[in-house]
């Protein structure tokens, strides 16, 4: 019988639950692929190129900027950031801007804080916020989905040379659009023209917007997959949706004409994607059981407030970033009551 060296003492527990970081992250990648595929189906070659460029930019940035931690590409988190970031961008977003978006997501959103687990904000949203500020026009240039020849031709803005202003796509939009395309997202229509988009269209993605803004149904299914595998804290998206629905319902009740109903609020814009895939990002969300509920409700509430009263049409992104920012505070004040103690610390 081989005697083992006495120093090789292992610590308890000697068994572990099967899910580790890599397995969770890999499954998040799997769950986000159908959404990416849907976006490519909707917008064709341009979307595919943008996806590849953004993911490559994120992974390259991760490799270079987080080199201190060793090769961290294996944890898949940079790839996830890339895919999610892609889903928040307009499909015709110039590729060179996509590179910057990816770089800023990893650089500002993650590496600056010390890499995986250390970041305060969701890196994909940091990247998105950065390009929103840097390229306000490009980020709101929407193009019609399902245009003819989308798998052979590119959206004109896609191949804009670096540091050049992308061409106007308005006229091109008119040419390729199947129906009359106004270039406005459902939220834009609602806000500026008081036109409500039917919820069914929102669910199935028959609307304009970034890839992740459409097809709430696919997002829901992908999110539920992760929730059922225990890889996503379902309480967060549920709380976000509850916060959104309640706030929207209150306003809708006060003035049904000026304020859209809860269903519209839930299924338009990036709310679904934000709730299921970004707010639920483990690193930026609270760890306490009560904290995740407060965090989710807060995000829902702020989203509706920004949408209704802010200058922007979309509020999910800022609501989640705000939620990320107050997460340490939420954790602090929601410490659970320790067993055998009278009240929480």
């Amino acid at each position: 019988m081989a005697k083992k060296p006495a120093i090789e003492l292992r610590t308890t527990p000697h068994i572990h639950a099967p899910q580790d970081v890599i397995m969770i992250m890999r499954n998040v990648v799997y769950a986000s692929l159908p959404m990416a595929a849907w976006a490519v189906w909707q917008y064709g070659l341009s979307a595919l190129m943008l996806l590849l460029v953004v993911v490559a930019s994120c992974m390259l940035s991760e490799r270079v900027l987080n080199a201190k931690q060793g090769n961290t590409l294996g944890d898949w988190s940079a790839a996830i950031t890339g895919i999610l970031l892609f889903l928040t961008l307009p499909p015709g977003f110039p590729l060179w801007m996509g590179v910057i978006a990816g770089f800023s997501a990893i650089g500002l959103g993650k590496a600056l804080f010390g890499g995986l687990g250390m970041n305060v904000f969701n890196p994909a949203l940091v990247g998105r916020a950065f390009v929103q500020a840097a390229f306000p026009v490009a980020i709101t240039s929407w193009t019609p989905a399902f245009f003819d020849g989308r798998f052979t031709t590119l959206i004109p803005s896609t191949l804009t040379a670096p540091f050049m202003i992308p061409p106007e796509t308005g006229e091109w939009n008119m040419q390729v659009a199947v129906d009359a395309f106004t270039g406005a997202t459902p939220l834009g229509l609602q806000k500026f023209d008081a036109v409500s988009t039917p919820v069914l269209d929102l669910l199935t993605g028959m609307t304009a917007g970034s890839a992740g803004e459409s097809a709430a149904l696919i997002i829901l299914v992908c999110g539920l997959y992760l929730a059922f595998r225990g890889m996503l804290d379902w309480r967060i998206p549920v709380a976000v949706m509850a916060g959104t629905a309640i706030t929207a319902a209150v306003f809708h009740f006060i003035d049904p004409v000026a304020y859209p109903d809860a269903m519209f609020m839930l299924f338009s814009g990036g709310l679904m994607l934000g709730a299921w895939f970004m707010a639920s990002d483990m690193v930026g969300s609270p760890v306490t059981p009560a904290g995740v509920i407060i965090y989710g409700l807060l995000i829902g509430f702020v989203t509706v407030i920004i949408r209704l009263f802010g200058g922007l049409t979309e509020g999910v992104m800022y609501a989640i970033l705000l939620g990320n920012a107050v997460t340490p505070l939420i954790d602090q004040v929601t410490q659970p009551r320790v067993f055998g103690h009278r009240k929480s610390s």
Binding site: M1, T288, V338
Partner: protein
């Protein structure tokens, strides 16, 4: 009970559900292992003061005879597990890591190994004081793994009042099934032991708590209750660490042991089924504890099962008897969640050894997985039965803020159950951090 039963089996909040791995041993009767040619009998098999040596090197002893006597109240005697000759008395490796004084007993191969030394008592005639003494004389300790002297546990200080005896039949550690088998095979002894414990403590009520995965034991024990209405048998949820005293009391009675306190503070005293069954067997005939049931199992074992093993049997001998498969293995005394891992094959089975678990390569590999930074997933918080914040404690440990851990984040309420490390997807050795932090705090306080 009461309202708890409305919601199914009683339980506590949080905890984890590791795969049980009990099937390999739970359905086979307890068997007896032959005597080895020598035994290693440490003097400190219990918590408290080591026993005081009564024998000399070279002396012949008969099975059952005291080898060492209790040194004070928080101490128990040690009886010879076999007939033979004392070969040596010296420092030997122990399960706890450090070396400990031990008697090396050469076992006579030709001896019949009957118990030849007894000190019978009439349990019916004993007052609580006498019962406590009789229990101490058996050398009984918590056989569930704690190894705390049973008579000390059953002595109720005058200023405390106790109303309930909780009998712990949870056996929540994966792989282990010795308590399960004991309940199935020795229900009479167990019932007797429960009576003795009630007699010693003066409580009027006993509740046996058994995890739901052992309903056969629940049923059998209920049959053995006959008309005794002061003892009840309750099923509790199968969940780790259901068998920890605090959790079991919460599950059965809804009472919470206050922080830093013990069950006595809320009128409860807890004993393990294996302990009480052994007591029920040994006390009336006046025998000392010389052997125990040990679950020997794991993927590295050919003939897993529950074995009666003489105390002091080196684990190397046990493994040879059960068909050790070999290879890259890890040896654990007790269950995989809290049992220490040992490497020296001379390490003996002692009073507190409930299991000998041999894990092999795939299981070990899991342990050496890469450690990632905390991703703040919150799983550890949702697993911790004490409702601590292991994630934050882990971050503080990395920063060496041990005092802050204890003062603000209740480090000392952690009982090292391992749930947090078990669920952590980043493989952070949280329990190990907490153990170190506690040790350093203790040292600084001293």
């Amino acid at each position: 009970m009461g309202i708890f039963n409305l919601f199914g089996a009683g339980t506590f909040r949080h905890g984890v559900h590791p795969p049980s791995h009990k099937a390999a041993t739970a359905h086979q009767p307890i068997r007896r292992l032959p005597f080895p040619d020598h035994l290693v009998i440490p003097l400190n098999q219990h918590i408290g003061k080591p026993a005081k040596l009564l024998v000399k090197k070279g002396q012949e002893v008969v099975r059952g005879e005291p080898l060492a006597s209790a040194d004070g109240f928080v101490s128990v005697p040690i009886h010879a597990p076999a007939t033979g000759r004392i070969r040596d008395i010296r420092l030997m490796p122990s399960a706890r890591g450090e070396q400990a004084m031990a008697i090396i007993l050469h076992v006579y191969a030709a001896a019949t190994q009957e118990v030849l030394w007894r000190n019978p008592v009439d349990p019916g005639a004993l007052d609580p004081q006498g019962m406590i003494q009789a229990i101490q004389d058996t050398g009984m300790v918590g056989l569930g793994g704690a190894a705390f002297p049973s008579h000390v546990k059953l002595s109720i200080p005058e200023e405390k009042s106790v109303d309930t005896l909780v009998v712990n039949g949870c056996e929540c550690e994966p792989y282990l099934s010795c308590d399960h088998r004991t309940m199935l095979e020795h229900p009479r002894e167990l019932m007797r032991g429960i009576r003795y414990a009630m007699q010693a403590t003066g409580v009027s009520k006993a509740i046996v708590g058994v995890e739901e995965n052992k309903m056969d034991a629940v049923k059998l024990l209920r049959e053995h209750l006959h008309a005794q209405s002061d003892i009840s048998v309750e099923a509790v949820e199968t969940k780790y660490p259901q068998g920890s005293e605090k959790m079991l009391i919460k599950s059965l009675m809804g009472r919470e042991v206050p922080a830093g306190g013990i069950p006595l503070d809320i009128g409860v005293v807890v004993n393990n089924v294996g302990t009480l069954a052994a007591l029920g067997k040994l006390l009336p005939v006046g025998e000392g504890l010389t052997e125990r049931v040990v679950t020997v199992t794991g993927p590295g074992v050919e003939k897993p099962g529950n074995y009666i093993i003489p105390l002091g049997t080196p684990i190397g001998y046990v493994l040879k008897q059960v068909g050790y498969i070999g290879g890259e293995n890890e040896f654990i005394l007790g269950g995989p969640m809290m049992g220490p891992s040992v490497s020296d094959m001379e390490t003996p089975v002692t009073k507190g050894t409930s299991g000998l678990l041999v894990l092999n390569e795939p299981e070990i590999e899991q342990e050496t997985r890469r450690i990632w930074p905390c991703i703040k997933c919150g799983r550890c918080l949702n697993a911790c039965p004490m409702h601590l914040n292991p994630a934050y404690l882990g971050l503080l440990a990395a920063k060496r803020e041990y005092e802050e851990m204890a003062q603000t984040y209740h480090l000392n309420d952690c009982f090292e159950c391992g749930c947090c490390s078990y669920v952590c997807p980043s493989n952070i050795p949280l329990v190990q951090h907490f153990r170190i932090a506690k040790a350093i705090n203790r040292e600084q306080a001293a």
